[in-house]
Symmetry: C2
Subunit: 335 residues, 2 copies
C-alpha cells in the first residue's frame, strides 16, 4: 500500500505553476499531496515545498483560539469578510489533531462559514488528520507556505483552545487572538493554563443585546489582569476588546489592532526576528520529536518503562537510576 502510486498525479512543476498562479484547484491538490502518507507523494511534496519556499512568507499569520461555543466560526466568517472587503486574500486553516475528520465534516467545516467559502478571495482548508500533534503541525505549517505562495496574504489558523495545539499554533503565527465570552470566568475552565499568557489580543465575543454590559465588565477585568502580566518579547501590550461577530460589531477594530501590532513589530525588528526564530524552532521541534520516536517507539523500551514507573511509585528505584538504566538499554540496542 505504501508503494502504491495513485493515478492522476501531475508532475511537481504542474503543481508548482498552479500554486504560484493562485489556481485554487491545483492548490487543493497540492495540499492533498502534502497531507498524503504515500511514499511517492512524500517525494513529490518535498519537491513542491522546496520550490515554492522562496515565494512563501508574505502574509500576516494569525492564530485564533477559543473553546467550543465561543463563536469561532461566526467570528472567522465575519472577520474574513472584513479582510476581503479591505482587499486582502484570506486562507483559513485549522489544527486539531484530536479530530479525525471525514469528508462529511470537511463539508461541515465549509458550511459553517458558508458566505466566506463562496468568496473567490477566501480559501478554507480544514485540519489535516494525523496521529501526532507534531505531524499535524508540520502539515498545517507546509499548507500555510503553499497558501502564501498562492497569494493569500492573511492566514488564519484556528484551534479549539482546549489542548496542546495552541502552543503549536502560537509557534507558527505572528499574532495570537483569544476569543472569550463574558460571564464570571466560568468559561475559562475550558481554557488550558498558559493560553492567556500567549494572547496578543483577547476578544470578548457575543457582546450584543443583554450581554453588552457584562461583556464590558469582562473586558475591563481581563484588561486589568493582562496588565500585570510580564510584557511579551515583542514589546506589544495585549489588548482586550468586545465584539459581536454575528452583528458584525467590533470586527474592524480587531483588524486595526493587528495592523497596529504589525507596524510596531516591523519597526522594532521583532517581526523578522520572530519569524526566523519560528522557522529554526520548527526544525528543532521535528528533530526532538524524531529523537523521542527513536526511543519510545521501541516496544521493549515501552514495557520496561511501565515496570519502572511502578517501581518508582513504590520507592523501589530512584527516578535518576531508572533513567540511567533505560538510556543504557537504548545505547546497547543501537550497537
Amino acid at each position: 500500500m505504501k508503494n502504491y502510486k495513485p493515478k492522476g498525479r501531475l508532475t511537481s512543476s504542474a503543481y508548482i505553476d498552479g500554486v504560484l498562479k493562485g489556481d485554487r484547484v491545483l492548490l487543493s491538490r497540492a495540499i492533498t499531496i502534502i497531507e498524503s502518507s504515500l511514499e511517492s507523494d512524500k517525494l513529490l511534496a518535498k519537491n513542491i515545498i522546496q520550490t515554492i519556499l522562496p515565494h512563501s512568507g508574505n502574509s500576516i499569520r494569525i492564530g485564533i483560539t477559543g473553546v467550543p461555543g465561543v463563536g469561532k466560526s461566526t467570528f472567522i466568517e465575519s472577520f474574513g469578510k472584513h479582510l476581503i472587503k479591505e482587499g486582502h486574500r484570506v486562507a483559513i486553516l485549522s489544527i486539531d489533531p484530536s479530530s479525525q475528520r471525514s469528508k462529511g465534516s470537511i463539508l461541515g467545516d465549509k458550511t459553517r462559514m458558508e458566505e466566506l467559502a463562496n468568496l473567490e478571495e477566501a480559501y478554507i482548508r480544514p485540519s489535516a488528520s494525523g496521529d501526532t500533534l507534531g505531524g499535524v503541525a508540520n502539515k498545517t505549517g507546509e499548507t500555510m507556505l503553499l497558501c502564501e505562495a498562492a497569494g493569500y496574504n492573511v492566514v488564519l489558523i484556528e484551534t479549539v483552545g482546549v489542548g496542546q495545539s495552541e502552543t503549536a499554533v502560537h509557534g507558527m503565527t505572528d499574532f495570537f487572538l483569544l476569543l472569550m465570552l463574558s460571564g464570571a470566568g466560568d468559561e475559562l475552565q475550558g481554557i488550558k493554563k498558559g493560553i492567556m499568557e500567549m494572547a496578543d489580543m483577547v476578544v470578548i465575543n457575543k457582546a450584543d443585546g443583554n450581554n453588552i454590559s457584562m461583556s464590558e465588565m469582562a473586558r475591563i477585568q481581563y484588561q486589568n489582569a493582562l496588565h500585570i502580566f510580564p510584557l511579551s518579547e515583542s514589546g506589544w501590550s495585549p489588548v482586550v476588546s468586545t465584539a459581536s461577530a454575528i452583528k458584525n460589531i467590533g470586527i474592524s477594530n480587531v483588524w486595526d489592532e493587528i495592523k497596529n501590532f504589525k507596524r510596531m513589530v516591523d519597526e522594532n525588528g521583532y517581526f523578522n526576528k520572530n519569524r526566523n526564530y519560528q522557522q529554526i524552532q520548527w526544525m528543532y521541534n521535528n528533530i526532538n520529536e524524531e529523537l523521542k520516536q527513536l526511543f519510545y517507539g521501541s516496544k521493549n523500551i515501552k514495557n520496561q518503562l511501565n515496570d519502572l514507573e511502578k517501581k518508582i511509585i513504590s520507592n523501589k528505584i530512584s527516578p535518576v537510576k531508572a533513567a540511567e538504566i533505560m538510556i543504557q538499554e537504548f545505547k546497547n540496542s543501537l550497537n
Copy 2:
C-alpha cells in the same frame, strides 16, 4: 582525575545510618557525595539514595521564588523560624544553575539567614553547581530526599525567579509560592511569563510603613487577576496576601494557607497523585535530556545545524527537510 578516590570517604552504610539518625554532619557529607562528579562517588551516591529512598517523602515541599530584591532571604528566615516554633524541622535548598558558587558564597548564603542557620531544627544547603539545569535539578532533588530521610518535614526550595529553574522547582514541589513587591507592576518585568500561572500563593512582601496601602492595592489587583486564570488541577484557588518578613507580619498566615492547601489535596487525592506524577516525570525528564545529549553532543551535528539554520532563514531549505537530513545523519552515525 575522574578515577581519583578521595581519602576519608566512609562506607555507604555509615552515611545511611547517619542520615537516618538525623546527623547533620553526615547528612552534609552525604550531600557532598551526591554533588560530586567523581566516578567512585557516583557509585556511593547511588547506593545511598537507593537505601534511603523508602524513608523519603515525608515532608511538604514548598517552592519559593521571586526576583532579587524582593526579600527572599529575609522571608525564608522569618518563615523558617515560624515553622520551627510550630515544631517542624526545616531544610532550605536552592536551585540556581547560573551561579557557580564558591565556598565563600556558601558562607554568604548562611549569613544571609543567620538566626535560622543557628537553629538545630534548620538545615541550610546552598545550590549545587553544575553545567546543566537538568544536572542541578537532579542533585537538588536527591538532596531533598536525603533531607526528608534525615527527618526534615518541611523542605523549602528557593529559586531566583528569572530563569528556567522555576519550572524545575515547580516540578519537584507540592506548593509554589511567589514573592512580589507592590508598585505599578514594574517589578513584574523581571518575572518570566508562565511563573504567575504556577503560583499557589502570591505574597506581597515589604508591606510595612508607607508601603501598606500600596501593598493592599497590589494584593487586590493580583487576586482579581489570578481569579480569571483557569483553576489548577489541584482544585486549589491561588491566594494573595501581604506580608512584612522583616517585621514578622503575615508570616503565620502563609503557613496557615499552606496547611489549608495540604488538607484539601490530601482529601481530594491530588497530593499523592501529583507526587507520583512528579516522580515519574523526573525519570522522563532525565531520559529526554540524555537523548538530546546523544544528538546535540556531537560536534559534527552542531556544525551542520549552524549551516542549516542559515539556509532555513534564507528560505533555501524547509525546516521539515532540514530536520530529516539531520536525523538521517544521526542514524547513520549510530551504525
